[in-house]
């Protein structure tokens, strides 16, 4: 099979270049840490870049939460930093919408797509399937650097005179297509679109690589059904990305055409600021279809890696096999397929044909079935386990809790009848922040705490990890749970001051409370960040190759694996990765041959 051939090529190369403890190629600083082609280094690059973006995106949310909580108060410090955008210490509406747009774009794409699946696909795929590196290390490196360039362009857009894009992270035209519509619709939006195009290239390069690697480079004995669920989740994530990101690219390019070349893909019948535009025959709804054809799978691109890692971490720390491996796999598959068939539930009140809407209700609520299966399987996985509450395990449990809460509110929104009322209200904000934002963030934290020893050969400080977890989960619920009530009252999202409204201004105290909590959560994240960077250099050293007693292959590598991961041969795999607590043994690594007297599962 193809696995064995690739293994031999790589083996031959690395067997000769092994130099003991630090070992492998003689590399310059630049080729080792900057333009590295080692999947582990690239993974770390994605992670650290993701952390930087998370701080920026999170900071923006704190700034606009200040406006939401204290619409009548002035904060002179804001003027110091943001100048005319916060004139007199008061956030200007245009700036508010830029902040909201940037917060959404950064968190959804740069943090939870690149930072999450970019990091863990890179670090875990070769290590867990038993490969020396990705199928195409050079493309992998390009993937990171395209992401980096996308970031540079996005940062640049923040500093242009007319400000960054302010059309919302969904960037609906005609608002985003018309320069006359506002400052944020000027050069900022062009830069946003260019940045997204670069990001999509990065995502496609990465995704193709992940798929190829998983399909072709598994070690001997690693059949598809012996893959850890992390790998399956990352595989489906990559498939989703490869099939849906090109659609967003086409949508973004048509928008660039409408903006710069005078085409009318999305534009028709427009009079803006008294100016009658010539465009006729375009459809603004077309963009929404193109956008959400990515936009909805994007939700699962964010969520699936977290699900995969949570499955793995819960199983390892419960010292118990994941319950219903095949059902977990089947539900991942079902979610992947359904992810492509539900996009129009974001468009129930866009003027979509009501009959089409009803079809999407059916498909949308159908996706709750595989999600429910996953939840029940996680519950059964920890049931009668012997659970170790490492920070990773706590974050995994937090993920399940948040996924339940946020998933259930999705049943409200997926149902057209209720969506009429709740569409584009704070209820939606609460829903997707819990289920997609915070839950995936928890998956990411779980992954970082769990695999940090593999990445850096040191532990993160657990006490800081516990503080981080408890403040974050309590804060997340305090922030987003009451927001559902605002949504039920019909408060629209993206309202920066509700003072002028008779029916929306009853939540002043609540908004102050949420703002206070969000600041506390934001500050608490620095506990994690300090812990992360401190522990890279000064953390407690890992002394055993397999600190968590896990079965998967990454723990058969040296504590600090070099480029090529294994010294000597890549181990052969003889069993699935979840033999925990079998036949009275705490764990049985995948590399151990199945004994004659072993019970079957």
């Amino acid at each position: 099979m193809s696995e064995t051939t690739t293994v031999h090529i790589a083996d031959a190369k690395h067997a000769t270049t092994h130099h003991g403890e630090h070992g492998h190629h003689q590399q310059s600083f630049i080729s080792k840490y900057i333009f590295s082609m080692d999947h582990k280094t690239i993974g770390k690059q994605f992670l650290i870049t993701g952390i930087v973006w998370a701080v920026i995106g999170g900071l923006f949310s704190v700034v606009f939460r200040l406006q939401l909580g204290y619409p009548d108060t002035t904060f002179p410090i804001l003027e110091t930093f943001f100048g005319k955008w916060a004139k007199g210490g008061q956030i200007q509406p245009e700036f508010y919408y830029s902040l909201v747009t940037m917060h959404g774009t950064i968190l959804v794409f740069f943090v939870l797509t690149a930072g999450l699946s970019g990091t863990f696909a890179n670090i875990l795929i070769p290590l867990q399937i038993g490969a020396r590196d990705m199928a195409a290390p050079f493309l992998n490196m390009l993937s990171y650097w395209f992401f980096f360039m996308a970031g540079i362009v996005m940062v640049a857009s923040i500093f242009v005179q007319t400000g960054p894009a302010s059309g919302g992270w969904t960037m609906y035209p005609p608002l985003s297509a018309l320069r006359q519509a506002g400052d944020g619709q000027k050069i900022g939006t062009d830069l946003w679109l260019i940045s997204m195009a670069l990001f999509i290239v990065s995502s496609l390069l990465g995704g193709l690589n992940y798929i190829t690697t998983i399909l072709n480079m598994r070690t001997k004995g690693m059949s598809m059904t012996r893959l850890p669920l992390t790998i399956w989740a990352l595989f489906f994530t990559a498939v989703l990305g490869v099939l849906s990101f090109p659609v967003l690219l086409s949508g973004a390019i048509l928008l660039l055409f409408d903006r710069n070349l005078g085409t009318s893909f999305y534009l028709s019948d427009i009079v803006i600021n008294g100016e009658i535009l010539p465009n006729e025959g375009g459809s603004a709804i077309l963009y929404q279809h193109l956008f959400w054809f990515l936009g909805h799978p994007e939700v699962y691109i964010i969520l699936l890696p977290a699900m995969g890692m949570v499955s793995e971490i819960l199983s390892v720390n419960s010292r118990k096999p994941i319950f219903g491996y095949m059902a977990m796999l089947g539900s991942l598959f079902a979610i992947t397929i359904l992810a492509f068939l539900v996009w129009a539930h974001h468009m129930f009140v866009s003027g979509l044909n009501p009959f089409l809407g009803s079809v999407f209700v059916l498909l949308t609520l159908l996706i709750a079935v595989p999600s429910a299966i996953k939840v029940f399987n996680w519950l059964t996985t920890i049931w009668r386990g012997n659970i170790r509450f490492t920070p990773a395990a706590l974050f995994a449990i937090g993920f399940v809790s948040l996924f339940i809460s946020g998933g259930l509110t999705g049943i409200f929104l997926g149902n057209t009848t209720i969506d009429i009322h709740l569409h584009d209200t704070m209820f939606v904000v609460a829903h997707f922040h819990i289920v997609m934002g915070v839950a995936s963030m928890f998956g990411m934290f779980a992954g970082v705490y769990h695999w940090f020893p593999k990445m850096y050969g040191r532990y993160l400080n657990h006490t800081l990890g516990y503080i981080h977890f408890w403040v974050t989960i309590v804060g997340a619920y305090l922030t987003f749970w009451p927001m559902h009530y605002q949504g039920l009252a019909g408060v629209p999202r993206r309202y920066l001051d509700k003072g002028g409204w008779v029916n929306f201004n009853q939540f002043g105290e609540l908004d102050k409370f949420i703002t206070a909590v969000s600041i506390i959560i934001f500050v608490t994240q620095f506990v994690f960040i300090i812990n992360f960077f401190y522990s890279i250099y000064k953390g407690r050293k890992v002394r055993t190759a397999n600190p968590w007693g896990a079965n998967t292959l990454e723990w058969t590598t040296p504590i600090n694996p070099g480029h090529g991961n294994w010294e000597g041969d890549i181990p052969e795999v003889h069993r699935w990765p979840y033999d925990y607590g079998k036949d009275g043994r705490e764990f049985i690594p995948q590399t151990e041959p199945v004994g004659a007297s072993e019970s079957k599962h």
Partner: protein
Amino acid sequence: MQTLLISAILILFLVVIFQIAKASEYVAMIRGYENARKQSNKINAFLLLVFLVVGLIGVYYCNELLKDKILGEPASNHGVLVDRMLYITLGITIVVFLTTQIALFWFAYKYQESDNRKAFYYPHNNTLELIWTVIPAIALSVLVGFGIFYWFKITGLTPKDAMVVEVVGKQFGWEFRYPGADGILGKKYFKKIDPANNNPVGQLWEDPANHDDVFVEQEMHLVVGKPVQLVIGAKDVIHSVGLVHFRMKMDAVPGTPTTMWFTPKFTTKEMKAKTGNPDFVYEISCDQLCGKGHWSMRGIIVVETQEEFDAWVASKTPQYLVANPDKDPARQMENTNAAPLTGAIIR
């Protein structure tokens, strides 16, 4: 100064936490990692249980605090259906929420690591899997069934006796057009939009159906108990007509007209009494980000009796006559010196 102080406190706070954590690591090193780990395992297991209990109390408390500030009685026929669907869904999801969250945190607490327990090797059970595939599927079928049934009622054909009002969104306000006595909205074309010459909608004056159409801004009047169909459009970017109390919403898309219909159940006066708020008005909120004034794009709906409505309409001059005063027999008599406006198309 204040900010500096706050920043200093925050940094100090982080440093303290960090030092405590480092100290805890040294303590663990002295006492042995295994003991320290087991102890923190117990603490965290207990905290998970506390989180469950306090969390559930918090959910209840939050509801007590906020429940009177939200929905209120739906003020349209469709609103009743929306609320009913909401409560059906709430009923089912609350049960699932409580069961799964309690199971999650209780299991986590109960099955915390202990030297006396061995994890139970339990890789799969097809019967269980089948049960929890089928039960959610049935529950969701019920929700889909109700949802689609109500949805078709809400989006179904407009009753024959419905009145028609055109709603147009623009940065940042609302415009309305009433069809007048003939009940037909006259034709319009966006290139004819010319507010300076009193044609804010772009009406084609050569269409006789336009001659009695009435144009108003910011305030829409509706008749209680009478179905109304809104024909919705936008001039510049996408807006959305959000009607909280009627529980209705529909996007306003330039170039693609949309519609929705409903029957208001209560007049504004009745709602003032019901809500106990003398300042109550029905509001139209823009629910789709439309630019920097999005948050302030507010319109008002006055729901009144048929007589009040008729009187209100009668007080309005059709836009055709506003734009073409020379066609207005009454006004011609009064203001003979008024110069006829140019630019109007004369049939």
